[in-house]
């Protein structure tokens, strides 16, 4: 078969995470059999799972978080009582996108951000005396030890690093793109609180990854029963009004999770449900919670069905009656919602928008919807059908890479496997896509309008320049252009890189080129 570099660009960028630099030969491999290159990963369902030393299960993480919270509480009480004690752990530095940083992004801030935690200690009064240069003197960086990370910060960074390393090393990256797509579809936010931050990575590993090549209904159930989701959307606080717990306490129903299940996870706005359906589903899933630190209803930190909080009796949802059946009542309801025609339509639209075009071609959406319906939500069949479609290969490359995809594509091209997630986490904060921390339960946006915004482009350029300054001296920019795009690179891009004044500048321009930014 003739080599097709343009199709290789589609294979690597539209479907994957970009070509790797070094000697991987990704572009050549993709060019010789573009569809096969993308689909190869679909044949390895277990390859999607993420297991690495140091990654723990949700209950283990929950217990560690509870223990940490107890420790902080004790320290605070001891301090109140006047006893000398260790300072309570600091809030994690990368917990939230720092709005101050985003607004006033001096280039130097990026420098410091990229330097990671070692650079966080601020120089005193902006001056380091030349005395510091004395031979034998301790390196200045060692002068001020950084606050040790607490278990929640450490866990978040460990999970982030595992995900990033996988993204850097995987062949094409199509399955990792699917993971990110579904993880954003069923997002939680790590900013919800310590448990959400602790569980963000585990949620993706446990509820998303096992199902991205499985069935939508199974993913839906795994997601809605995951402690991270129950905590994020407050279902652990929701009590059936007529349940034992609801009658004992003055609290009642919380519709949050039920509403988002129908609006964001399955049927979509306008998908044919009413407020009465929301309330009904909320009642159906009362009692879906996780066991607390005392472990009264299960292993602390694990999913639990609290019958005491569950609304008794049958419920009518979308015209169908679900008999009182404890946990199974909600599971039956979710199974039906998962195969609802509105769900097929909503998922197909979002899927095509993510991979093909901001305005998804209606014919392709219709085909994806049919596949979803015919296969009863087989997500591997859905992914395969997308790769088999001609539209996905012929549509112009107008999608904008998200900040995460941009940073990963850059790291892959530069053949850097990170040993510390700091640069990525900080850059994602700056670029407005903090890892596992969207602003709302609708996840991060997925259109060029969101990511090709003026401020965002300027910040990307700053970060690309920073990478260029740091790594440029060691690379040959023209070699890298060959790895990234080969003869599918535009003459203008090639000329811009050839004519750059320095390798550093050439690398920054390459990373910012349409060949990298668009997919």
């Amino acid at each position: 078969m003739a080599r097709d570099s343009q199709a290789a660009l589609v294979a690597l960028n539209r479907f994957g995470l970009g070509a790797r630099g070094g000697a991987s030969g990704d572009l050549v491999n993709a060019a010789s059999d573009p569809r096969g290159f993308v689909k190869a990963e679909l044949a390895r369902p277990y390859g999607v799972l993420l297991e690495a030393p140091g990654l723990q299960s949700t209950p283990q993480l929950g217990q560690a978080a509870f223990a940490y919270q107890d420790q902080v509480k004790q320290a605070r009480e001891a301090a109140k009582a006047g006893a000398p004690t260790e300072a309570p752990p600091q809030a994690p530095a990368d917990q939230k996108p720092d709005t101050k940083l985003r607004r006033n992004l001096s280039l130097n801030t990026v420098t410091a951000e990229i330097a990671g935690p070692m650079a966080e200690a601020k120089p005193t009064d902006g001056a380091m005396k030349p005395d510091g240069m004395q031979p034998g003197a301790a390196p200045p960086a060692a002068a001020k030890p950084a606050q040790p990370l607490n278990v929640i910060q450490k866990t978040f960074r460990t999970e982030a690093l595992a995900r990033l390393q996988r993204a850097m090393m995987v062949d094409c990256g199509f399955t990792e793109r699917l993971v990110a797509f579904w993880s954003n579809h069923f997002c939680i936010s790590a900013s919800k609180g310590e448990l959400a931050r602790m569980w963000a990575g585990a949620f993706e590993r446990e509820a998303i990854r096992p199902h991205v090549l499985g069935r939508f209904a199974d993913m839906l159930k795994a997601v809605e029963q995951h402690p991270a989701m129950l905590f994020f959307l407050d279902n652990q606080q929701s009590l059936g009004p007529d349940s034992r717990a609801g009658q004992n306490r003055k609290r009642g129903l919380n519709e949050n999770l039920a509403r988002e299940i129908m609006e964001l996870h399955t049927l979509g706005v306008g998908g044919g449900y009413t407020q009465e359906d929301v309330t009904s589903l909320a009642r159906i899933i009362t009692g879906w919670t996780f066991a607390g630190r005392k472990g009264q209803i299960g292993l602390p930190g694990s999913f639990a069905f609290n019958a005491n909080a569950h609304q008794p009796g049958p419920q009518v949802l979308l015209g169908k009656t679900y008999e009182a059946n404890g946990l199974a009542q909600g599971e039956a309801a979710l199974a039906d919602i998962a195969r609802h025609p509105s769900t097929a339509n909503f998922v197909a639209t979002k899927f095509v928008r993510h991979f093909v075009a901001d305005d998804p071609p209606p014919a392709l959406v219709a085909r994806m919807r049919d596949v979803f319906v015919k296969t009863d939500g087989d997500l591997k069949a859905l992914a395969t059908a997308l790769v088999d479609s001609d539209e996905a290969w012929k549509a112009p490359l107008t999608k904008m890479r998200s900040p995460y995809d941009f940073l990963v594509a850059s790291g892959r091209l530069l053949a850097r496997v990170p040993e510390d997630p700091g640069f990525y986490l900080n850059s994602l904060n700056l670029l407005g896509q903090p890892l596992w921390t969207p602003a709302g339960p609708n996840g991060f946006p997925d259109t060029a309008a969101a990511w090709a915004a003026p401020e965002g482009m300027k910040l990307r350029l700053d970060i690309a320049s920073q990478m260029g300054a740091r790594l440029g001296p060691n690379i040959d920019p023209l070699d890298l252009l060959e790895f990234a795009a080969g003869d599918a690179a535009s003459p203008e891009t090639r000329r811009t890189i050839e004519r750059a004044e320095s390798r550093q500048q050439a690398l920054a321009l390459l990373l910012m080129s349409p060949e990298i930014q668009r997919r």
Partner: protein
């Protein structure tokens, strides 16, 4: 009063995700204070990335072909912004009054029609040759300044070579330990890079061009500036870098050798003549030299600064009032140790037949001879070490004598 800040990222490079070369920490290095005359020599190497237009910086106003070739951007010794006469033939760009003063005081010199052995027109390869010290391009991982450091006699008390900027320039990379320093405000995405990207986007991706342009404008608006290049900033940044480096080098046991790079000399379009873009950059370089002079204080007496670039630019201006990649250019020397007040040149002439490939100032002096002369004069390195270790296979390029007092 010290407005330079030790940059943490350089000393914590080991922990860096994107860290470049491994970075030796503090180390004892040769002491080369010369017992005989009590001198304590210092050397600063300034790389101008992008290929400086030597004919626009030190103009051969006495050459009858100069004004015609350099056209609208040619310097003249009369008019609103007259170039400073250096001798009966050459004149200095008016944006460099400090260098002119040093020249008058015989502490600055110009070497004209110089080039490295590189004869092609790629910045990347040209910079490799300039900094590696090898005769041709190749991905060598050490630079001539580092190998010179290694070759110095062992001593004590004196710390490593100083790499100024976010990365160690190739010229200073190698086995000999170096330390890094960068001013906190060192620019990253500079205007030149931004403009090149906007230009690419205009041709290939108008939507991104619009977004990026607006993003840049917003930033300028926020910093009270407009879309024009910011000469003040570039100039201020060069001065700031030099001031910080000078401060470090002035210490009794500070580094004796430093290397730094200034970007932005690739003047393809709208280069400007006595005023304009190149003039702004030269003003920054001039200010940086002045900062070295004042920052080094008494040490300036023993200091030589070498300013070099990867190649020159075409003798004839192009259709966009700029110049393209050329060959012969200048090297500048400044410092109390320099035997200055001279333009050293075996002038090839600018007649069409005398131009290199009919385009460029023909190089008549090997830049390696100039650098070797400075290294030998300052640190006493032997001909043999210079010809074999510092600049491999360069015996034919003899060290230029008498550059340093």
């Amino acid at each position: 009063m010290i407005d330079c800040v030790e940059n943490r990222l350089l000393t914590s490079r080991r922990g860096l995700l994107l860290g470049g070369a491994s970075f030796a920490a503090w180390a004892y290095l040769p002491k080369f204070a010369r017992a005989a005359d009590g001198r304590d020599p210092r050397l600063v190497v300034v790389i101008l990335r992008g290929a400086l237009d030597g004919l626009a910086t030190v103009a051969p106003v006495g050459d009858p072909d100069y004004a015609g070739l350099h056209g609208s951007i040619a310097l003249a010794t009369d008019g609103a912004h007259p170039a400073t006469r250096l001798d009966g033939f050459f004149a200095l760009h008016p944006a460099m009054p400090e260098f002119a003063r040093m020249y008058r005081d015989q502490h600055a010199a110009v070497i004209h029609a110089v080039a490295t052995p590189y004869r092609d027109r790629s910045h990347f390869d040209g910079q490799d040759v300039l900094e590696s010290g090898y005769a041709g391009p190749g991905r060598v991982q050490s630079g001539w300044l580092n190998r010179a450091l290694e070759a110095l006699p062992r001593g004590e008390r004196v710390s490593s070579g100083l790499a100024v900027g976010p990365t160690t320039p190739l010229v200073l990379r190698g086995n000999a330990p170096t330390v890094g320093w960068a001013p906190v405000a060192l620019p990253q995405a500079d205007d030149d890079t931004a403009m090149r990207l906007v230009d690419l986007y205009r041709h290939r991706d108008p939507a991104l061009a619009a977004a990026l342009t607006q993003g840049l404008q917003l930033e300028k608006a926020a910093s009270g500036d407009d879309m024009k290049p910011k000469p003040g900033n570039a100039v201020a940044q060069m001065r700031q870098v030099a001031r910080g480096a000078a401060k470090l080098m002035a210490a009794d046991d500070g580094p004796r050798i430093a290397a730094l790079a200034f970007d932005g000399w690739d003047t393809h379009a709208n280069e400007g003549g006595p005023v304009g873009r190149l003039a702004f950059l030269l003003g920054g370089l001039d200010g940086a030299l002045a900062e070295f002079e004042s920052g080094l204080g008494e040490r300036w007496r023993d200091t030589a600064v070498v300013v070099a670039t990867e190649f020159g630019r075409t003798a004839r201006i192009n259709g966009t009032d700029g110049t393209d990649h050329g060959t012969g250019t200048i090297a500048l020397l400044a410092g109390g140790a320099v035997k200055g007040g001279r333009v050293i040149s075996d002038w090839p002439g600018l007649k069409p037949a005398n131009l290199y490939e009919g385009r460029d100032l023909k190089p008549t002096t090997d830049l390696r001879s100039v650098i070797k002369g400075v290294l030998q004069g300052q640190f006493g390195l032997s001909d043999q070490v210079l010809a074999q270790t510092v600049f491999p296979d360069s015996a034919a390029a003899r060290p230029m004598k008498g550059l340093v007092a």
